[in-house]
């Protein structure tokens, strides 16, 4: 079950023309939360199963003709060979239009792009995974990876936060993850009557962790930028090295290949050098306003 399939970067075919866009069809749609749905997208025709491979944390550009493109990270299992999985929240015109599509409809896709989670560097130590809101989407593909390679990772904490209980993504899978020895903690900003878990920001959960070997621990985070900044700071307080802290950032992206200039943060192109970036590389810039 946890055989380790290869996850080669799929950059090659896009190299010559990064604008090459493929037609993908919506194979199914799962409603996750209000305004959030997961789409499985498949290429038409006989396709090499490896066509869907990616590194957890990478993203695709989803294209709705006449509306535009949007960078959406993969939220599925990187070993799956039956399509791309994307969890999308309605935010702008592209995602709104996507929400209006149904099974069988087509759209365009370019990808995968970007630097994903550093799965090799994360191996061999303990791991704190922090996800806020929709940031859970790219985290899930990392969890799939961890589950498939469970013996390569030490203690794994997963700390999930969301505004409300119903906004916590993939809760149906938490038990399965726990069975794989992942220490799942949840917290919400605003509880509902039936909520019995934590209330508050994710950092309070991080601060409470008792790390046996902080120096042997890595922290990864994805969520709102402000949440990630605080999560990283909490990690530092616990003794986690800045070189072992990784954040997945978001910026306006148009080309996804570092050629359009939109997504820069200091010297980093978030699309091509990121979206997952090492905290010590970006810390000088992350706290500068309007950079």
């Amino acid at each position: 079950m946890t055989s380790a399939p290869p996850t080669p970067p799929a950059l090659q075919p896009l190299h010559a023309n990064p604008w090459l866009t493929r037609t993908v069809r919506i194979a199914d749609v799962i409603d996750e939360a209000p305004g959030v749905a997961t789409y499985r997208l498949t290429l038409d025709g006989d396709t090499d199963p490896a066509a869907y491979s990616f590194i957890p944390g990478q993203f695709n550009m989803l294209y709705l003709p006449g509306v535009g493109e949007s960078a959406i990270s993969m939220s599925g299992d990187p070993t799956r060979s039956d399509g791309w999985t994307h969890t999308v929240r309605v935010a702008g015109n592209v995602t709104k239009t996507l929400a209006g599509l149904k099974r069988g409809d087509t759209l365009g896709l370019r990808g995968p792009f970007g630097a994903g989670w550093p799965v090799e560097e994360l191996a061999g130590v303990n791991l704190i995974i922090v996800a806020g809101g929709l940031g859970m989407a790219p985290i899930r593909s990392l969890i799939y990876h961890v589950v498939h390679h469970r013996n390569r990772y030490g203690h794994v904490w997963l700390i999930c936060g969301a505004r409300t209980p119903e906004a916590l993504l993939y809760r149906r899978e938490y038990d399965l993850w726990r069975q794989h020895d992942i220490d799942v903690h949840e917290t919400v900003d605003r509880a509902t009557a039936d909520w019995t878990g934590q209330i508050g920001v994710v950092t309070t959960l991080i601060d409470r962790l008792r790390l046996p070997h902080p120096k042997q621990t890595q922290l990864v985070a994805c969520g709102p930028e402000v949440m990630m900044k605080y999560a990283a700071a909490s990690g530092v307080r616990l003794g986690i090295a800045v070189e072992r802290t990784w954040l997945s950032l978001e910026r306006n992206m148009q080309c996804a290949t570092g050629l359009c200039g939109h997504c820069q943060l200091g010297p980093e192109f978030i699309c091509k050098d990121g979206p997952v970036l090492r905290y010590d590389h970006i810390r000088p810039y992350l706290f500068v306003e309007q950079l």
Binding site: V67, G92, N93, K96, T97, G100
Partner: protein
């Protein structure tokens, strides 16, 4: 939505040019009518249907008590209200009265001023009711109008670029008149939309799409003064079709203060 969205066009104080833009979309007009139900458009059709409307296009500014009351009714029966053109978005050229004395102005034009009932100001629609989207220009660009209509009909938020005219000048290879000829051009502080027409026709931009954001008029006007342009030459440049937008109004009033306090001073 399964039924076609119902469109209404309303006119206030204006020249008709912006609503004509819809009829100027010759290639698209009949197709638009297949997707949008033109329920009320007096300039084009005698079939004036009652509201409510899904989309209202409002042209013109408010200059009379009756119009101030009418725009409230238009708002009440319209789901998505779009103002089109400089009159509706900023008060238009008729808003120059805001700096004059309305009674004297009326007397200068009409032999029987007592019959004229007009307000002392010309105000944009947004000063009276909530506006869902503003399309700038004197006149508006009919391609932008079609894009906005299609976006609303498809349930998307309409968007138009808000950068300065300069970007369009450069994309079309037009040489900057401020730098190469020293002529005052409002391009650096004016919103895109016209396609950077005036500079391509060898004249400076006169700001008919209104201020860009940001519109650093202070810095630009200081430069024009450095180039030898006196305030009394620059005030009319700012006071035309978008004179009462906050950015252009502030700039022209600063210049008037300079003018009153004596020439030779700079912003």
């Amino acid at each position: 939505m399964s039924r076609k969205p119902r469109l209404a066009v309303f006119k206030f104080a204006s020249c008709d040019g912006c609503q004509l833009s819809l009829l100027d979309a010759e290639d698209e007009l009949l197709e638009i009518c297949e997707r949008i139900d033109i329920a009320h458009f007096a300039e084009a059709s005698s079939d004036l249907q009652a509201g409510p409307y899904d989309i209202a296009l409002v042209e013109g500014s408010i200059t009379t008590d009756e119009d101030a009351a009418r725009i409230l009714r238009v708002r009440a029966e319209s789901r998505f209200l779009i103002t089109i053109g400089a009159c509706a978005t900023s008060g238009g050229v008729q808003a120059l009265r805001n700096w004059g004395h309305i009674d004297e102005w009326v007397r200068s034009v009409y032999p029987s001023p007592e019959f004229i009932h007009t307000l002392a100001t010309s105000t944009p629609i947004a000063a009276h009711v909530h506006v869902d989207f503003e399309l700038h220009g004197c006149p508006i660009n009919h391609h932008q109008l079609v894009d906005v209509l299609v976006a609303v009909a498809e349930g998307r938020q309409p968007r138009v670029p808000s950068h300065s005219v300069c970007l369009d000048c450069k994309r079309r290879g037009t040489v900057c008149h401020v730098v190469s000829r020293g002529i005052p051009c409002l391009g650096p502080v004016t919103q895109s939309g016209c396609g950077a027409l005036c500079p391509a026709y060898d004249r400076g931009c006169y700001g008919c799409y209104g201020p860009s954001h940001p519109a650093n008029t202070t810095s630009l006007l200081r430069q024009f003064q450095k180039l030898g342009r006196a305030p009394d030459e620059l005030v009319p440049l700012l006071r035309n079709f978008n004179a009462t937008t906050p950015e252009f109004r502030r700039a022209s009033e600063q210049l008037v203060v300079l003018q009153t306090n004596g020439e030779g001073k700079s912003l």
